[in-house]
């Protein structure tokens, strides 16, 4: 099937009235949770997973995906007007976005964020469309050793990207793997770490866990240290105020282009996603700029680049999930959960077996991006009001969402306790500098990692050479080992140098 036939098939699915409505509901909800600081897209998708059980699978995926990229549009509004990131991926936008707003260019900042997001989102989708099919075909030959190598590399990458301490992140990844083993052994169905609790037999459920880690923990942050918003900037009035002027466009256009490419590449990496891509895009813009001193003082490139990057990263983040069945970030892990809920395993065979779902989902994102642009420009004034929602209202909203989400999975009150437990854990983990992304990703990848490791060892009759004699797995594992060993070597090198210098200075 050529590209055009595929697109035609996809649009025939995504442009049906029902799917248009689901897409609209998703992007609208996504924008709102993006605007609200404290309630993220991960918690929202987790909340809606049980509801999507009754929906047609393709419609469910279209709506959940809409929440994800919609939240990227919404997050920038809060950053620019309030200097508080609505989503973690718009942290970088706070710096120059709020500065622009203070200088009376809030409209241009919001406008360029929306236009940049649209352009980058669309470019990212073109990349996804062109790259996913050949990659899926390539991945058909993957066996257990390749899958083990991929999961190992994924967990190593997530532990080294965007975390301040690699040992802490690796500890979280190990804990995630350990939590993933709770329940029945995937090969022999023997109970592990259930301690006689019946509810643990089927393992820890992903949804209450995510609601706790990303929803309830935010509540605890809010009540323990109330969010003090700085004086909000004046929201722009009228549509014309959102249009950047010619000079601003000239500065922003190359930044949008570079941001799109950077975001797309970073988004492919496991664990990186929108947040890291916006950091990288901002840093690159500042490095390339002829006037780096303008950054932090309201440079429009400082809004355009990270906002573009986080949107193209959402598009490319779908590639590992749709072609390999491997989620690259927490939201993709929940999307994997949505596929599984409907009895579908995403991976290399998805494109061949369900082309209507594959292309329907991708084309719906083109549609959703257009909706977001049309929705965002006139309604920014309304969304700006939502950003001022004080914690007194925000806390009950998030708590209610977490309770219904956790209870709704199995209609089981035990899941509420699991949610509260992970909420307290998540709060203290973040306070003490442990990041939660490696934990969740490891939890999701754990069963696949264990099964592929055990199958590989049985295949090779106990020899670890199976991982180094196959070209793909040796390359992937090589990169992982290199990342793990480099800091140790650097540390030993420093010790060596220090030991050679110390006696000389002493004498």
């Amino acid at each position: 099937m050529g590209v055009w036939e595929s697109l035609a098939l996809g649009f025939s699915v995504s442009l049906t009235p029902a799917n248009l409505a689901y897409c609209f509901a998703g992007v609208l909800l996504g924008t709102l949770v993006g605007v609200l600081p404290g309630l993220g897209s991960a918690a929202t998708i987790a909340l809606l997973l049980p509801v999507t059980y009754k929906m047609p699978p393709t419609s469910a995926l279209i709506m959940l995906a809409g929440i994800w990229y919609g939240s990227m549009y919404g997050g920038s509004t809060t950053s620019i007007l309030l200097r508080v990131p609505g989503e973690s991926a718009s942290v970088m936008t706070c710096i120059d976005g709020f500065e622009m707003a203070r200088r009376g260019r809030a409209g241009a900042a919001l406008g360029i964020a929306a236009f940049g997001s649209f352009i980058a989102g669309t470019l990212g989708l073109v990349g996804l469309m062109l790259l996913a099919p050949p990659l899926a075909e390539f991945a058909l030959d993957f066996g257990p050793p390749e899958y083990f190598a991929l999961t190992a590399l994924g967990l190593t990458l997530v532990s080294f990207l965007g975390t301040s301490s690699a040992p802490k992140a690796l500890a979280m990844a190990a804990l995630g793997l350990l939590l993933g083993t709770v329940g029945l052994d995937p090969v022999r169905s023997e109970a592990r770490f259930t301690f006689g609790v019946l509810s643990l037999q089927s393992g820890i459920d992903l949804i209450p866990m995510v609601m706790g880690l990303f929803g309830f923990s935010q509540v605890l942050h809010l009540v323990a240290r109330p969010l003090v918003a700085e004086a909000a900037a004046q929201a722009p009035r009228g549509f014309l105020a959102l249009l950047p002027n010619r000079q601003e466009w000239r500065a922003a256009a190359p930044a949008i282009g570079r941001g799109s490419v950077v975001g797309f590449l970073v988004g492919l990496l496991p664990g990186a996603g929108g947040t890291i891509s916006s950091f990288v895009a901002y840093a690159i813009e500042k490095r390339l700029s002829r006037h780096p001193e303008r950054f932090g003082r309201g440079a429009i490139e400082g809004v355009a680049a990270p906002e573009s990057a986080n949107n193209s990263a959402t598009a490319s983040g779908f590639i590992p999930l749709l072609t390999l069945g491997l989620p690259a970030n927490v939201v993709m892990a929940l999307m994997l959960g949505a596929f599984m809920l409907h009895g579908i395993t995403p991976g290399p065979t998805l494109l061949a077996q369900k082309p209507d779902m594959f292309w329907g989902l991708i084309t719906s994102m083109f549609v959703g991006n257009v909706m977001l642009l049309v929705l965002n420009l006139p309604l920014i004034g309304v969304f700006a009001k939502v950003t001022r929602m004080p914690a007194a209202y925000l806390v009950p909203v998030i708590v209610l969402a977490c309770l219904v989400g956790a209870y709704g999975v199995n209609n089981n009150a035990f899941d509420i306790l699991v949610m509260v437990g992970f909420g307290v854990f998540g709060y203290y983990a973040e306070r003490t500098g442990f990041s939660l992304a490696p934990l969740v990703l490891a939890f999701v990848l754990g069963p696949l990692m264990e099964t592929s490791l055990r199958q590989s060892l049985i295949l090779s009759q106990g020899g670890f050479d199976i991982f180094v004699t196959r070209p793909i797995s040796v390359v992937l594992l090589g990169i992982a080992v290199l990342m793990l060993v480099t800091p140790v070597l650097r540390w030993m090198g420093r010790r060596y140098v220090a030991s050679r210098i110390a006696p000389k200075t002493g004498s």
Binding site: A174, L177, L178, F193, I416, G433, G446, Q461, G462, G463
Partner: protein, 141 residues
Amino acid sequence: MTRVACALLVLLGVAAVYSASRLAFGSARAPETGFFPTLVALALALFSGLALAERPENPAPLERGGSARLWIVTGATAAYAALIQPAGFLVSTAALLLLLLRGIGRLSWTASVAMALGASIATYELFTRLGMPLPAGFLPI
């Protein structure tokens, strides 16, 4: 605080190694149920030990009353888990929301009661219609 967290994770890793030792380990040639859990529990103990060796810094302390509010919210939500089946979704949710709005959020009694009742009823109606039943409890609904 950070060192305590690291130390607790080391202990958790060691406890998990012990607990996993009662499962069949098998061998590299034929890995059994306990094979993978033992390896990852060892990794947990090792990496949290390394994190402890980094001499991590503590977070900035909370302002007064911060941790009291934190544990009130946590305790109330845990109590909610015990109440939802016998008391039903509407009663227990309205009570919890009232605590959050009035007790933590310091909104007026009138506004708190109105919002707690309104939000509970709206959520109940919405999710029951979406095909996700919530417990009615003792209320005749």
